[in-house]
Amino acid sequence: VKPGLEHFLVVAALLFVAGVFCALTRRGVSGFLIGSTLVLSAAGLNLAAFDRFGATSHGFGAQVLALVALVAATGQGMVAFALGLQLRGREAAPGADEHGLD
């Protein structure tokens, strides 16, 4: 069986499902980070697959969009990590409330 568009789409769908499950079942920053990374990887895989096999694709626009999404995901991961560290520091302070960190 030669891998075609449908094969890549099924792999991306399963990757997306794993990401959604991870984001739903883990509480806090790290679960959201891991889940969103998986979901965005699935989106990038879909874009690259349609760019490679799709009849309407031209000019590599989908690949560039996937690259921008990848960069945005990295940026949001860094900011989420920084926010988590900041909240953790506040939580560690005496008398601080619970913030729901993971």
């Binding site: 891998p3 099924v10 399963l14 991870c22 889940g35 990374t37 690259a48 760019d51 000019g59 990295t74």
Partner: protein, 167 residues
Amino acid sequence: MVRVDPASVAFFGLAAVTLGSASVAALARDATRAAVALVPTLAGVAGLYVMLASPLLAAAQVVLFVGGASLTAIAAAALLARRAESPPTSRRRAALATVTLGLALAIVAGRTSWPLRASAAPPASGVFARAVLAEHGIALMLAGLVLGTAVACAFAIVCRQDEPESP
């Protein structure tokens, strides 16, 4: 004699690595273990990008995700890990919802007759590089700007000192 297509072997191998480690990342109870399992997942996706004739995406995936974001996720999981998961009831509900969603997506992806390109040959890398630099240079610059801003914001958040409250 059965002829084995190397592309098929590579695809199914990469898909197995990607989905296997993704399921470990999704199901692991320990957040740090889940973050470590993310590394082979993202490396497998980079391999799938190579199979899709997207060398730029594969390189960016390795540099940004496998090298940067996954290390951030591991550090976040190790530093912030405390309450790793939801109660079992909500976990079962989430499993049911995501399995249903996955089945629906896989059926739609597999059964839809997508309009396919007539020529299946991948474009030459020189064509790709010229097209990206000529037509999408602004998008690449914006992506770099977004990443730089995110790094600056992350530093600003981490270095921010709370002012003491006035009595």
